[in-house]
Symmetry: C2
Subunit: 366 residues, 2 copies
């Protein structure tokens, strides 16, 4: 076994789209940079796990197949954490799930010296108590916790906000389009040029293209955006209690909240197209377009998520495809914000944020 | 004296606009984060220096006044580096000058274990040999070298490009407006709406507002943009020999190259307004506007700087004030680039990039 100082153990939880992209990036990274030696010692899905009691290496490039062939079921997470904490070198837990159960264990992992890298929003947008527990545990043990991809996937959003705050700038407002799904829907439904389609047709098209969750209501309820706003607001210094503690506009008609399936919802949605059509027409009358945005007014301690009208020439109106855009208004940057824009979803760019975080954590080990 | 593991010595070279903003951010940082203890042990301008042989602390908040009152002249840079290398804890040299002489000493500093943080473009855009020497020295000693503010001031440009490359993405093209001066000039001279002023009037206005160098030709010759492109191209993997080894369009009329002063240049410039007026009119005829941009085509190994026409709805055309915009086209991001936009010049935002880099280097010490 290599010497502890020159080795880092990596445990991966979750092997879906992001998990697979991450493993492929990890494999390439380990090849390009032989030092420190990156040793995959644990990988699991919700059903299966793969690890060796003596921490011997799992080959990264065959890990997915080996995991599928494994007969082990995943141990309790607290046991996994003890296993990692007892490893003969520094360890990083890469959480590629969107599980609240895994997120709830971050304080334990961090307190045991296990660093965390993750795109999972749940830990940072759940209860404010969990948020505090995570950072208190990290400060106490010196373990690191990085979560760039929890907002805007691989776009430099979290790191930029942290740099602004850490260098003493005063963030006054954060505003943007934080959901690739919502971006695609409104760029098609209410384009800056041309007519756009019917709302229900656009929702169906987005689902067919794989731009929505399996049940589109999980996008349309606004909670995903509310979670991202919660994270950014907390980083900007606001003690937001939870993603449901501020106004969030849901685009699910009240009458369809009780549908028992996404399919039933999509079938009944056309009957409510006139509501969205009226919203669009009202904006058009004012020479504007409607967009689904989130905003944080730091001074007023006000966070909100919902529909808003924008001039056609506004960067938020001019967005393309399923891109995200995030504008940071600060004291130093004055009236023109610092803007970050680009794809905010997708396995490869989400994994990129995770891998970049991993590199940053490792650079602090040596 | 605090224990070495919990202390970092900081030497600052340069005390102009950026240097002063940096010191004020450093003071605030040291107050907010008492550990590790940040000890300012050296500060100098080209004429004066302030330091104590026993490395005892220089008070940050009175450093500028104390430096002005100092009777010491700056020692040779190589002596300063030896002084820092012999300090009883890790040291960081913050180069807030734009001096080639200081830049030339980076390999020596890094080889002696002194880390470097700087907005100075000269080291990274000079000869390719100097570039190689810097990173070879850093790799060998483990000392760090960070230079976010060398392109786009505090905007996350260098860090974003590094993350893309380090995680294995393939950057295909980088394009943008890299000069606040050029941005302001063309946003006023050829606005997307309305007429815009005469070219020579806009140059005079930009100078009056402090948006140009004392001699505006230092902006109009395109070399500042060429230096930034050189840095980004090298980070993207192209072995660019120097900022004059690729096509750079100068906006200084040939006949005015020999003017002996910026004032003489400004006086004679109106006689050449028709040249720029024709360029603007040609773009307008095609429904476009003209902008001064830099671009790097990685596959074609082609870097160029100069005037280019853009559709009025293009993000580069729609830029405001003196903002920069940088678009990264990559394999993972596909047809819609990752875009970073905002103020790319000014003491406070430049110093912000320096301070953020300093924080990152310090985080790798503990």
């Amino acid at each position: 076994m290599a010497s502890a100082a020159n080795q880092v153990f990596i445990a991966v939880v979750g092997a879906g789209g992001v998990g697979k992209s991450f493993l492929s990036q990890l494999q390439a990274l380990a090849t390009r940079r032989p030092s420190p030696k990156l040793t995959l010692c644990y990988i699991s899905t919700s059903k299966k796990a793969l690890f060796n009691d003596d921490y011997s290496e799992i080959s990264i490039d065959t890990a997915i197949d080996a995991l599928a062939a494994s007969t082990k079921t995943p141990p309790e997470l607290s046991q996994v954490i003890e296993y990692l904490a007892a490893a003969p070198a520094k360890t990083i837990l890469v959480d590629n799930t969107s599980s609240q159960d895994v997120a709830d264990k971050y304080p334990l992992a961090l307190s045991r010296g296990v660093s965390i890298v993750t795109p999972n929003k749940k830990a940072f947008s759940g209860s404010y108590q969990l948020w505090k527990d995570i950072f208190i545990a990290a400060t106490a043990s010196g373990a690191k916790v990085y979560h760039e991809s929890s907002v805007g996937a691989g776009l430099p959003v979290i790191s930029t906000l942290k740099d602004l705050v850490d260098t003493g700038d005063k963030v006054t407002k954060i505003e943007g389009v934080f959901s690739g799904t919502m971006s695609f829907l409104f760029n098609s439904f209410a384009p800056t040029e041309g007519q756009g389609g019917k709302w229900s047709d656009e929702v169906k098209k987005a689902k067919a293209l794989g731009y929505t969750e399996p049940d589109p209501r999980d996008d349309l309820n606004g909670l995903d955006v509310a979670r991202k706003l919660t994270i950014l607001a907390r980083l900007a210094g606001l003690p937001v209690e939870s993603p449901t503690s501020f106004p969030v506009q849901s685009l699910i008609p009240k009458e369809l909240e009780t549908c028992t399936s996404g399919d039933e919802f999509l079938e009944k949605l056309p009957a409510f197209d006139t509501q969205m059509e009226e919203t669009k027409a009202a904006a058009e009358k004012a020479g504007k377009v409607v967009r689904f945005v989130g905003s944080i007014d730091v001074a007023a301690n006000a966070v909100k998520v919902g529909l808003q009208e924008f001039d056609r020439s506004h960067p938020i109106a001019a967005l393309k495809g399923s891109d995200n855009i995030i504008s940071f208004y600060t004291e130093r940057y004055g009236s023109n914000p610092l803007i970050v824009q680009g794809a905010g979803a997708g396995g490869d760019v989400t994994a990129m944020g995770v891998t970049a975080d991993l590199i940053k954590v490792i650079s602090q080990f040596s």
